[in-house]
Subunit: 222 residues, 2 copies
Amino acid sequence: MTTSENPVVILIADSQFLITESLKLILQNDGRFEANKIVTGKNEIIKALTNEKISLLIIDPSLTDLTGFSELKEIKISFPELKVVVLTNSLNKNELHELNTIGITNIILKTAEREEITEAINSALKGKKYYSNELMELLFDVGEKKNQGEDNGHLTGSELEIVRLIAEGLTTKEIAARKFISFHTVITHRKNIFRKLGVSSVSELLMYAIKSGWINMIEYHI
Amino acid sequence: MTTSENPVVILIADSQFLITESLKLILQNDGRFEANKIVTGKNEIIKALTNEKISLLIIDPSLTDLTGFSELKEIKISFPELKVVVLTNSLNKNELHELNTIGITNIILKTAEREEITEAINSALKGKKYYSNELMELLFDVGEKKNQGEDNGHLTGSELEIVRLIAEGLTTKEIAARKFISFHTVITHRKNIFRKLGVSSVSELLMYAIKSGWINMIEYHI
DNA sequence: TAAAAAATAACATATTTGTGGTATAGGAGC
DNA sequence: GCTCCTATACCACAAATATGTTATTTTTTA
């Protein structure tokens, strides 16, 4: 927090010009930070982290990999000392939990106010957690309105694959043909999926799947 | 373009702090503009447009109404001389065409580069059209991959309402009860919807509806 | 006001879904 | 070795869907 500490160098990894410009301004006006660097491509991130002494990385994960965060995970493993703030346009509950698992606990949305942004940065530097208000709500509505199903949400690999094929518009018969398995097996999978998720129709299933980020909507919605 | 013209006052209507901050910076550095004002609520927009001589409005429509753009339409009618640049996070093809119908032809995404932003503003002031590169692609893939249906995409009000009820997970019988119409009527609507959209299952219908922005995903995806 | 479009409704029928069971083989973990 | 989980598979049946065709009334629009 004071100038007597190690120099704080911040790396901003974001391809949105309008965002990086504002961030630069905020960090400059703060005065606590030694230098800031902006990278807009995924390759530059590793290079900068390797060659320079970076204290904090502010990153939009959509710059790297949108689903799975595997590259973000690798960064956290390669640079354990690095503090990370995730700054992104939108996150669903699945993604939020996944980031938590990786050890990223300072997450804000690009709709955040100035106070939230500085708070997230300060918390990250102190090793404290910080989440946007909107994300806190997401974290806490674990109970939720619907689904009285038992082990909600945890589908197996085959089950997830079938959800995606249903989303593509395939019928049970077509899914069986595509996967070279029996029609009856697909029926059983469907039953298990419905039971686990507490839904009883394709519509409800798809809404659940989209909400949870199981279906890649990128190709459907710009 | 020159200082001899009328003073150019720009109103920025956006609730994203990170965006308004950058815009302010860009406009300040440009030097051509007399004054800039930032509003973050929908009520302030009309007040500012009424009381001050605004040349250009840079607006994120999600500040007002996300679907239908009815408030944006009213603004265009009330202030015909006003130039408008729409700056938003995402748009689908339906929304893009709707904006076009209203007479808003300068549209860029918040992922735009500095050049695109200034170009959009300059074009708007000159009365010329400007669209982000990503949006141009959207405009031009009219042919598209699927759907060989006839009058694609244009559903009536009742049909759209039924699409939303299907998305809610209601069965045909339930929809009939909810709307106080015959089961057979709902069946007919479904048939017409499927024919118009070139789909043949609820899954395909929902994917189409989400892609087109007919279903409000806000409650499902933050 | 005449034509076009939308909303309403019905009948018939093949296909698909949703739901209740039961059952076996293979792998992971204790 | 034993148990839990997963993937596989089958039977049966009621409910719902998808598809075709036709037709009347109401609303919109040209």
